[in-house]
Symmetry: C2
Subunit: 383 residues, 2 copies
């Protein structure tokens, strides 16, 4: 009963022809200070104890879907060298260095324009943050394959993460009727996106069964993305096209210097996803894989396996001592020193060679205070 | 109306003729780990931020009362070098090194016997721990002068610390009738000593007005002490006499090697103070000075002045950041790294180059758990 395979159908295994992954690698992750620093951000860290950094794990996950040479990383100029060093399998020409941060629309739009220059108008790109943790790789791959099918049908496709709780930390995407794609029946229309809701609203969302978390993963034909951008923000579109045309030639630096500083700073959600969804051009594919954006130390602690002593350790368990009333302590002994915790329930202790943070999971969202505080005292070296 | 001064009266100012101070410098202070270590104990540390270690401050306090050459320190062999280095004003011959710990009776008894060998039978000695903090030096000096008067009258005199709260952490001394000394009317008979009481009993003690804290400070004629020792523990007495006789000669090491390991390990309280008190031979002089034995980090934190940010810092305030819910944190940034504390009320954070302790004031008495735990894991290097 198998149907004949159309020429542009998405194969059920192996690389997806014409599919390119774009990995925006930015954001300091100030809620993970002092592990994460401006000069050594979250995506460059191994936060899972797997031996691979979040960036490396992201590329590991995507490379089998794109095939060789199919991953493009967009990062800040100050991180380009570290990114290239962590990713020997990604060519130097596939690490795009932004002169300064211009938010996600410029980063992904630049990648789309460069991909069209290099690979033509049939490119489908998928954009995936460099600092998320995903488990259930087969389910992720299936979602991407479905997403590519939706993209080939002309949609901006987002992957909706199956919500495991009524979180107030994420925006939500609301699914409507199925697109009716033969090869990807799970793909549905998007009714709309929401901002982070309050707890009551989040619970209502979950009760409907229509809402999933918006993790900012987009799969779309590069030309479709650029056409939407041209319609919504033509100046930004034209600037990115000019830069992309010059990227591989002698004028790259001159054009970047002229155009980049004036580019509109806007997130792709506001620039494309929300207005295009309102016009019916966005689809969603459900993602049943495990997902975590490691937004703070509570999230990191929950993701790590409990150790023999109780709470999780990020690093060498032999350096950690959990005493009465601190059995569940999360400890990152990243300075090589021993750490003893006594009588602090829910403790979070992050020990690095030049800075120590002591807090609790309940205060994990407030860790940014520490970064702001040291900045206020002129200690830029600690940020 | 001044009376004629007797030849052996204690002068009201300046050195007290015949008075020698003995400073037993021992005890690791495991409740102050990781600041205090077996190899770097509490008495060698500056815990007040004064620039002087507890040992140095103890000698500073006593030297004006004894005059030059009047302070004898008894310490463990492993600390003798560090003690001598901290006390250039104390001659090498006045630092007595014990081959192994034999508790306070052996330490103070040895000092008494050595003092009699060197200075004759009129010596009055006062024994004061090396790791207590005292404020109100004039009141302390007055108590010592009164104590010497009591000692010259033949008593073992203890200084009773004015209790500021019904503490269950200390033993108490109960005062009886005045001795009736013309030159020291404050000195009273001791009815008895008590073990550490429960809270209710401690409150009853304070209500009577008869009880003060027993801080283990004794003032007594050296020969009186030795006579009591001969009566109570003749073998220990004879051993210490033999060692003292050989101390300044060529046989010291041989006699120490022969006698020291067999000496009875016993505290002076049990060996002398309690039995002699029962026989009416102990007196008490009230001490109205400020006193703290810095028994744990809660006690240390309470002793230090609050900083600009709230809680006290032992060290460089510029290294410490107290954020929401941790305004009262006690922090010892002894590793030179910055320390940020967030959302841990009553926090205690002690940061040293090889070990970090995170706890609260409420758990300060349990810090010994950390030492025991690391010992159990074979980390003797941390103790």
């Amino acid at each position: 009963m198998s149907s004949p395979v159309a020429s542009d159908a998405v194969p059920a295994a192996g690389p997806v022809p014409g599919f390119h992954a774009v990995v925006p690698a930015g954001g300091a992750g100030t809620r993970l200070w002092p592990l994460s620093r401006a000069g050594h951000p979250k995506f460059l860290l191994d936060l899972t104890g797997s031996g691979r950094t979040l960036l490396q794990a992201t590329v590991d996950r995507l490379a089998p879907l794109t095939g060789p040479g199919g991953v493009l990383v967009v990062t800040g100029a100050r991180h380009a060298e570290a990114v290239a060093a962590q990713l020997p399998e990604v060519g130097a020409e596939d690490v795009l260095a932004e002169p300064s941060p211009r938010d996600s629309m410029a980063a992904i739009g630049l990648a789309a324009a460069v991909l069209v220059e290099r690979h033509g108008e049939d490119v489908v790109l998928g954009s995936f943050a460099a600092d998320h943790v995903i488990s259930g790789g087969e389910l992720f791959a299936q979602a991407v394959r479905d997403g590519v099918a939706g993209a080939r049908a002309g949609y901006v496709v987002t992957i909706g993460i199956g919500a495991t709780e009524p979180s107030t930390a994420f925006g939500y995407v609301r699914a409507g009727a199925p697109l009716g794609l033969d090869d990807a029946p799970a793909v549905r229309h998007v009714v709309g996106f929401t901002e982070k809701p309050d707890a009551e609203t989040a619970a209502q969302y979950l009760a409907t069964g229509e809402y999933s978390w918006n993790a900012g993963m987009f799969i779309v034909k590069a030309t479709v993305l650029l056409d939407h951008l041209a319609a919504q923000l033509p100046t930004l579109h034209d600037g990115l096209r000019r830069i992309a045309a010059a990227w591989s030639g002698p004028d790259r630096e001159a054009v970047l210097a002229e155009v980049w500083p004036g580019l509109t700073k806007i997130a792709i959600d506001h620039a494309i996803a929300e207005p295009v969804a309102a016009a019916g051009g966005v689809a969603v594919v459900p993602g049943a894989f495990g997902w975590d954006d490691i937004g703070d130390f509570a999230s990191l602690a929950a993701m790590l396996p409990a150790g023999e002593q109780g709470g999780p350790t990020l690093g060498d368990e032999a350096l950690v001592q959990r005493l009465s009333g601190a059995e569940d302590a999360f400890v990152a002994p990243a300075a090589g020193r021993v750490v003893s915790v006594l009588g602090v329930p829910d403790a979070v202790v992050v020990d690095t060679p030049d800075a120590l943070l002591v807090t609790t999971r309940g205060h994990a969202q407030a860790v940014k205070q520490a970064v702001d505080g040291w900045r206020g005292r002129g200690r830029e070296d600690l940020l």
